[in-house]
């Protein structure tokens, strides 16, 4: 870790965090304000008007009647995966491949800091920024719920839900970061760094359409992610352990590959 580099990375990328925090907050507040304990039944009727498979594809798996389950199914089934994914893809590519592609990383590497130190600092920033983003979103969600419907949100379950969602997004971040370290050209880095997570997300959506292809989900990083289950008190430590292992493996192989590779800069 190099603190000067970490500070500079934050200085040049905090706007991206702010933008995505703004977008997620907007969805949060719309969703929370749309929740109406009396209107839940109307919502149910509305949902039934749509084909069941379509709703499933969008991640709205079960009909939620509590505020927490409502958020878990309407917000965390899809939006809290898709939107942060865009953040991960943009940042992952920016942190390494873009600087290699335009040569500017030569200036970092011509200071007396090893490649490993530089790349670990960039990767740690990627992880920390997601933690920051999800902490802010969780806090905002709790505050909004408490001010609109005091006492309705199951705060402990909501925090647990956000932790596992943050972790699955960290896996996405590390996929993008890995390809960013692997390729010298930003176009290949963004192709795979965006392509692989998007395919996972599409497979996750498809698996909701029909029971016949539900197994598709199991081949993706979302196979262990069940937001409504988390709210209903299912254990998640196994999933968390597996996500942590994937994150560690991707991070360390990205660092090792970057340390060894040739940089035509």
């Amino acid at each position: 870790m190099n603190m000067a580099l970490l500070r500079m990375t934050l200085k040049k990328n905090w706007v991206l965090i702010a933008i995505f925090y703004g977008i997620l907050t907007m969805y949060l507040s719309v969703m929370i304000s749309m929740f109406d304990p009396e209107e839940v039944n109307k919502l149910l009727e509305m949902v039934e008007m749509f084909p069941e498979n379509l709703m499933k594809a969008m991640g709205f798996t079960s009909i939620a009647t509590t505020l927490t389950a409502y958020l878990a199914s309407w917000l965390y089934g899809m939006l809290m995966l898709g939107l942060p994914m865009v953040y991960c893809i943009i940042l992952g590519n920016r942190l390494v491949a873009k600087m290699v592609d335009n040569n500017s990383i030569a200036y970092l590497l011509s200071t007396p800091n090893s490649r490993i130190r530089i790349i670990i600092t960039r990767g740690v920033y990627a992880i920390l920024s997601l933690i920051l983003l999800f902490t802010a979103v969780t806090a905002t969600g709790v505050l909004l719920s408490e001010s609109i419907y005091p006492g309705l949100l199951d705060i402990a379950a909501f925090i647990k839900l956000n932790i596992i969602t943050a972790m699955v997004n960290m896996v996405v971040m590390m996929i993008s970061f890995f390809f960013s370290c692997l390729f010298n050209e930003a176009k290949y880095s963004s192709l795979l760094g965006a392509g692989v997570p998007i395919i996972f997300l599409l497979m996750n959506m498809l698996s909701g359409v029909s029971d016949k292809i539900e197994y598709l989900k199991r081949f993706t990083i979302y196979g262990l992610f069940d937001p409504v289950g988390v709210i209903n008190g299912e254990t998640v430590w196994q999933a968390q352990l597996i996500y942590a292992a994937i994150i560690a493996v991707l991070f360390s192989s990205a660092v090792l590959i970057f340390n060894k590779k040739r940089l035509p800069i």
Partner: protein, 324 residues
């Protein structure tokens, strides 16, 4: 006497996937020496420098700086190094002063960094920005090409490194600033710095360097001290005489090469600098109407070495003045 050279390139071969690259490079730069590195576009100068900076590991051979392997010990090597990239790109969206502060912070906070150096950095940085009349305000992206080059120069010299690796350091500088840069180099030389500098400009290397390497198609074609190089250089004289054919025969008899007869009364004669006296004495006895020296263009200098056509003096001079 047998002090170890600061920069050692040992039998280095480094190829790209295209098969281009550098082959069997073998040279040293001693402490306190300024080495010029000349070669046409695509010759392999930047590739050599990438190996020295530890950006690319050679396929074969090794690069050592201060006895340390440039790939394995890159961070330790960078501690003693100042570097100007050939293709300069600064990190996105930084201001000039912000960038310089960031780079000195990166040097200072490095694990093996000297803690108390920052004040000196600042003074040296101020001197250098004044020397090059560089205005650090504003976004680097909006800087002109010359301003970016000046910023790169300040970045490379501000921490007072003992070894400098400079890839075409004066490209984009106006003549006034090129002179200031030459003055800076001689100041650094007097402080005992060791410098490897790539260039396309023969004159620049001639003015500032002690020794010169010439690379072509990835191979060193000549290594010489600068005086030896000048002595082995040929000048072209244009002589007007009443009978060009007769003078041509006379000159060839004295082992001077002559150009093809363009007209009956004018002749081109190629003379190695070392033979100038003998040439004038022969001319004195001939019937000369006019004498002109053809201005030596860069191309001539390059052609002479790059095409391997070094005249009769080439190979012999290389041994005589070689710095092996």
């Amino acid at each position: 006497m047998s002090e170890r050279p600061l920069i050692e390139v040992k039998n280095v071969t480094l190829t790209y996937r295209s098969g281009k690259g550098v082959f069997d490079l073998d040279f040293n730069v001693k402490a306190g020496e300024i080495m010029g590195y000349l070669g046409p576009n695509g010759a392999g100068k930047t590739t050599t420098i990438r190996a020295l900076l530890g950006f690319m590991k050679p396929d074969r051979g090794e690069c050592l700086i201060g006895g340390l392997d440039c790939t394995k010990n890159a961070a330790a090597v960078q501690q003693r190094l100042g570097y100007i990239p050939g293709e300069i790109t600064f990190p996105d969206d930084m201001h000039g002063d912000e960038f310089l502060k960031f780079i000195s912070d990166m040097r200072r906070t490095a694990k093996n960094g000297h803690k108390g150096l920052n004040n000196n950095h600042k003074n040296r940085q101020k001197e250098l920005t004044e020397l090059f009349e560089l205005d650090l305000k504003g976004r680097i992206r909006k800087f002109s090409k010359g301003m970016k080059q000046k910023l790169a120069i300040v970045t490379a010299f501000m921490h007072d490194p003992e070894i400098l690796i400079l890839d075409e350091p004066t490209s984009g500088l106006d003549p006034l600033m090129q002179n200031r840069f030459e003055a800076l180099l001689s100041e650094e030389k007097s402080k005992g710095k060791t410098i490897l500098m790539s260039s396309h400009l023969f004159e620049e290397v001639e003015k500032t360097c002690d020794n010169v390497l010439i690379i072509k198609d990835g191979r060193i074609v000549k290594q010489s001290d600068i005086h030896g190089l000048a002595a082995s250089q040929r000048k072209t004289y244009i002589v007007r005489t009443s009978d060009a054919a007769r003078l041509a025969a006379l000159m060839e008899g004295e082992n001077f090469e002559t150009g093809p007869l363009a007209s009956a009364d004018s002749l081109e004669i190629f003379v190695n600098s070392a033979d100038t006296g003998r040439f004038i004495r022969i001319l004195a006895g001939a019937d000369i109407l006019d004498l002109d020296v053809k201005a030596q263009t860069l191309e001539d200098v390059f052609m002479q070495f790059y095409t391997g056509n070094t005249g009769d003096g080439g190979a012999a001079k290389q041994n005589e003045h070689g710095i092996t």
